[in-house]
Structures are given as structure tokens and as C-alpha cells.
């Protein structure tokens, strides 16, 4: 039997090498940096788009979290460190764009905590992608409120926590579902190790 021009990639998935590796000479690190930069830009774009939409629920701090899509994709296709990096850079740039220092502080701390929560759930082989997203949303909202509480120093703010927790359930589910749909369009082994996405 003559072998075809198709090869098995390192992940064991059958894939056309020409499609999987458009720039074969690019080393893995360059690919990773490129993918991370793209995801940061994508997250920033989503954040701006979300900010220009009218708020769905009129609670301050309760947002859709569209930008978390970029973090989720970075986590499942690149890895935990890359996800934390993408999220940190996105929060930093987004905060600078908005020009609010308090917002920046809240965004970075809540975003990092949420990413770490999602990383933990990713490596605990019990939760689905939607579950990871929900956990991220819940942790994000809780930490956001905690930091706001610490910065403002008004203890009455804690009565706001149950509402933020409840809001995180639908928004986390929605973002997780979208991430799931997105993941159908990215080939299974498209990680750092020489995929079209890497």
C-alpha cells in the first residue's frame, strides 16, 4: 500500500501537514508569541465591543465577560501560563485604554483569580468547558467585589455579593457555550506544538 501524503501529527491526529504548518521554519516560541498576541488583541477587541453595548443587566460589575473567551481559548489550546499571560496583558491594555486606575486594579486581580480558577478546573478532570467558564465568572465577580470592598472600605458593599454570584451563572454559561462552539472550528491538536493555531 503506497502511503498518502497525509501524516500523523505529534498529537496522533491525522492532519495535512501543509495546512497544519503553514510556516514550518517558524520555531515553536515564535508561534506561541504570535498566537498569544492574537488572543490578546482579540480579547481587547471583545472587551471594547462589550463596553460599547448597552448593559444587559443594570448592575455595576455585572458584565458578560466576552473577553474571557480569549482567555479560555488560550487556556485550552496554549496552556495555563499562556492563559494567565494573555489575560494579564489584555487587562493591562484594556485598563490603560479606559484610563481608570481603580478599574485596572480590579480588572487585573479579578481576571487573574478567575484564570487561575479555570486552570485549576482544567486540570481537575471533572469539569466541562462550560463548567470552567462558570467557575471563572463566579470567581471573577467575587474577587472583583472583594477588591472593590477593600479599595472603597464600605462594608455595606458585601450585600451585593449574592447578586453578582447569581449573575455569573448565566454569563459564565453563555461564554462557555460560545467557547465550545469556537473550539469546533479549531483543530483538535492545534496547540503550541506546531499546529495551524500555534
Amino acid at each position: 500500500m503506497p502511503s498518502t501524503d497525509k501524516k500523523f501529527s505529534r498529537d496522533g491526529t491525522l492532519a495535512d501537514q501543509a495546512v497544519r504548518q503553514p510556516y514550518p521554519r517558524l520555531d515553536a516560541r515564535a508561534r506561541k508569541v504570535g498566537a498569544m498576541g492574537m488572543l490578546v488583541a482579540l480579547g481587547l477587541l471583545l472587551q471594547i465591543v462589550e463596553g460599547s453595548l448597552p448593559p444587559v443587566i443594570p448592575l455595576p460589575g455585572a458584565k458578560l465577560g466576552l473577553a474571557n473567551l480569549a482567555t479560555l481559548v488560550a487556556l485550552i489550546y496554549l496552556g495555563p501560563a499562556e492563559a494567565v499571560g494573555v489575560n494579564f496583558l489584555r487587562c493591562l491594555l484594556g485598563g490603560l485604554l479606559r484610563g481608570s486606575f481603580v478599574g485596572l486594579l480590579i480588572s487585573i486581580s479579578a481576571g487573574t483569580a478567575a484564570t487561575l480558577a479555570m486552570v485549576a478546573l482544567h486540570y481537575l478532570p471533572l469539569f466541562s468547558l462550560v463548567g470552567m467558564s462558570i467557575a471563572g465568572a463566579v470567581v471573577h465577580n467575587a474577587v472583583q467585589l472583594a477588591v472593590a470592598l477593600w479599595l472603597v472600605g464600605f462594608p455595606g458593599l458585601r450585600h451585593y455579593l449574592p447578586f453578582l454570584l447569581l449573575v455569573a451563572l448565566p454569563t459564565g454559561t453563555l461564554i462557555g457555550w460560545v467557547a465550545l462552539r469556537v473550539s469546533h472550528f479549531i483543530p483538535a491538536g492545534a496547540g503550541v506544538k506546531g499546529g495551524a493555531f500555534g
Partner: protein
């Protein structure tokens, strides 16, 4: 590369149930604690000068020396009322119980004013 679960799992359900339960527990706690009670501070003024400033959590009865004589006030269950007053019209006694911040009992003849002030203070919303 670690595979991602795409199907909803029991752990997801557990997570959602846990968050729901926590939110409902916190809400219930808030509702039960604020039922009828408002954490205000009672300010007692005689002739415009604040003579006393106290919390409403402790039940007690106090006497205040007013312009014409003693005024007796009672604090119970986070509320305040004037029990007795050395004034001719007793409007202050008829005002009854007050508990919310902003409410007041005024005895003009005896020049005694009881007012509940909001405790805490500070902003009530955070600028995003």
C-alpha cells in the same frame, strides 16, 4: 495538550448548585438580618445640642433632661419611642416607634429631638 470535556458533567451541576446555594444563603441571611431592623444611630438633641449618640442594638430606657423636665425614651428591638415627656401636648409620645434612618421624634415644648442617623456612610455605589 490536555483534552477538554465538552459534555456537561455532574461536577458542573455540583458547581452551579453550590453557587446557587451560596447566593441564596447570603440573600436569606441579609433578608433575615434586615427584617424590621435598620442599623441606625440614635442622636438625642436638646435645644439643638447633641447630648447623646447611641446605637439601637441594646434594649434600654433612658431619661433626658429637657427644657421643661424629663423625657423618657425607650429603645427596644432596634426601635425608639418616647414613653413620657414633660410637655403639655404629648405629640412626641404619640409619634410612636421610629426605626429607619431619617425618621425623628420631635418634642417642641421640651426641645428634645430624637433622630435616627444612617450608620456607616460612604458611597452607596462604586464607580466602574
Amino acid at each position: 495538550m490536555k483534552a477538554v470535556r465538552k459534555r456537561w458533567t455532574w461536577a458542573d451541576s455540583l458547581l452551579v448548585a453550590g453557587v446557587l446555594a451560596l447566593a441564596i444563603f447570603l440573600l436569606a441571611q441579609d433578608v433575615s438580618r434586615s427584617g424590621g431592623r435598620h442599623d441606625g444611630i440614635l442622636s438625642v438633641r436638646v435645644n439643638g445640642n447633641e447630648v447623646m449618640c447611641l446605637g439601637l442594638s441594646e434594649d434600654r430606657e433612658l431619661e433626658v433632661r429637657g427644657w421643661q423636665g424629663e423625657s423618657v425614651l425607650e429603645i427596644r428591638d432596634g426601635r425608639v419611642r418616647m414613653v413620657e415627656s414633660a410637655c403639655p401636648d404629648k405629640l412626641c409620645v404619640r409619634t410612636g416607634w421610629i426605626s429607619r434612618p431619617g425618621e425623628s421624634i420631635v418634642c417642641l415644648p421640651n426641645r428634645v429631638v430624637l433622630e435616627i442617623m444612617a450608620s456607616g456612610g460612604g458611597p452607596d455605589a462604586v464607580n466602574r
